[in-house]
């Protein structure tokens, strides 16, 4: 059950992947934020710290930002910003 692209439902994957890659509706757990610049600081201050459960809620059209739920609120971030957040245990409903 460790195949990243497993189509079977409710199959958590231990493989790390960027938050930007998870599908709409998928849930995952933050492993960490890459880098140590102001973006990384802002992402951590927004609750994307290790262990935080996240859920992908929506994607804006034309490759725009994505919306995730973290700690019960909704956070919008651009795809390249989300690419800095590593998640694991991805569950696609």
């Amino acid at each position: 059950m460790r195949l990243g692209r497993n189509k079977m439902p409710a199959a958590p994957s231990a493989a790390r992947q960027p938050l930007s890659a998870i599908a709409r509706g998928a849930r995952a757990v933050v492993v960490g934020v890459l880098g140590d610049d102001s973006l990384a600081e802002r992402l951590r201050a927004s609750g994307l710290w290790p262990g935080a459960p996240v859920e992908a809620l929506a994607r804006a059209p034309f490759g725009g930002p994505l919306l995730v739920r973290v700690h019960g609120f909704r956070l919008a971030l651009r795809r390249e910003e989300a690419a800095r957040v590593e998640v694991a245990e991805v569950v696609v409903p």
């Binding site: 802002r42 609750g47 804006a60 059209p61 930002p65 909704r74 919008a76 651009r78 910003e81």
Partner: protein, 639 residues
Amino acid sequence: MTGAAAARRIALVGRANAGKTSLLMHLTGTLQRPVNFPGSSVECVASDVVEGGVRLCVVDLPGLASLQAQSSDEQAALDALQGRAGPAPDLLCAVLDASKLAVELAFLRQLRRLGRPLVVALTKTDVAASEGFPVDTARLQLAIGLPLVVVDGRTGAGAAALRALLAAAEIGGSERALVDRGDGPAASPAAVLPRVIARSATDAIDRWLLHPVCGPIALVAVMVAMFQLVFVVADPAIGWIEAAQDWFGGVVGGLVAHEALRSFLVDGMVNGVGSSLVFVPQIALLYAFVTVVEASGYMARAVFLLDQPLRKVGLSGKSFVPLTSSFACAIPGIVAARILGDERDRLATIVTAPLMSCSARLPVYVVMLAAFFPPQQAGLLLFLLYALGLVVAVAVALVLRRTALRGGGSLLVMELPTYQWPQLRLVAAHTGYAVRSFLRTAGSVILVATVVVWALGYFPRPAAIGERFATLRAAAPAGEAGAARRAQLDAEEAAAYLEQSWLARAGKAAQPVFAPAGFDWRMTVGVLAAFPARELVVPTLGTLYSLGEVEASADAPDERLAASLRSTLGPDGRPTLDALTALAVMAFFALCSQCVGTLAAIRRETHSWRWPLFTFAYMTALAWLVAVAIQQIGRALLS
């Protein structure tokens, strides 16, 4: 705390959207005065209230999400917080959003390290409950070990208790537990938060409003509604103000016998005040609308949907907020650009904001369209004029981001709040504040400028003209029979005075510059008079074009002006204005930056003369080029 004179400075600290502003309103009753942080242009709202013999000076700091600043707003808030700009606050009141408790507690840990006396106001507990995780405040207070009051930003419940706490909290000594000595008791989010999140109403709404197809359609609908509100609903109110202005001018004119003084009061003062007042309905409606959109939580969704398209042209999704405000007036729009964290994004937004057709341009469009185009074409042309500003703004932003403002890039990372019904009180307070500051700043500039334009158009008064017309008037038949002739002579006399006034001389001197665009000297005077403020164009054109008119009609002022714009003849006996020239005039005003207030705002916000001068130069050049192109290409096609 030493008796009745004691005052303490209290800073409200928290995230943007945590509810600081409505909390301040409930704490002190009003949003009284804007204050600038020392050494910066960042404005915040402060208000005073007396509680238990202590005067509380409460400052609402710009939103902070962590103690590392990302924007000039946040830097100013941090400086104020840490006493780097003026005296440090005596007491911090952390305004924490219960619906984001996990990150708020992380922020609180950072705040405690500042070592300042600290109390907590917990807001939005109703939102947390509606999102499916009610907060156990008793447990939370035990966990954080700080005085905590639950306040409801909508009803104001809890504000009195918080006021009492702010007045009574110990701020001097360190013996009380208010000054924290480190991280304090562990306030782990897991201790106070359930892990399972239920679907909420906001999720259901977002399913449609953020849908890849329905979302953009809804956004366009919201924008159309905004323009309908500003241009259709405001119309009757504008009519009432104009009627009141006419009536008042008539009353004043009847009371004052002295000719120059009467002209000064009626044409200068009443006209000047009136020409600023007519914008109040539109500005009030636009602000009310923007506040409703913002308070309901939709503004953040618009930013989310528009981020990618706006980035493609070198702006940011967050530019949407300042650019939207600029449709009412560029000045608050330029100030609102502070929400952009990246300096290059902010400058690109500031420099393009004046291209959004502000409400001061609308009267020019309305008068020209009414005079030269049938109503069914006028609506389309009005839309095209707004589109012209947008298209040029996109082009300018694209060029700038590839040249002077290359590189950089802001962060988006922002919260999309839970949808809420906007509070009427907050909407009213914001709208009232916007209208007052418009009247204070724009009103004074416009008033002074109107008086200057009046004086330049009134003087000099050579005696020869007066004598000539006195003779003609004496020759006219007496009584009813000569009334029409005398009225015509009055108008001719006024026109004769105006033709040799300083204003007309300036217009005639500058006219060659605008000749390729087809502007006659009167329109050139309009352009010159518009420089202090665009609000002056229509009153000035009214004076210049209507003075030659014979009969006073009972039509609306716009109708009167429209008729005289069509009928004014040039030296060659042909009308000086036609539909093509009207198009050139409107395009010129759509693109030019004839507004001292806007340029002053850019100077203030960029701390240099470079950007206001650049904005003025590029906009004026573009406006002239487009007006000339319309006139020359149009003539070539028509002939």
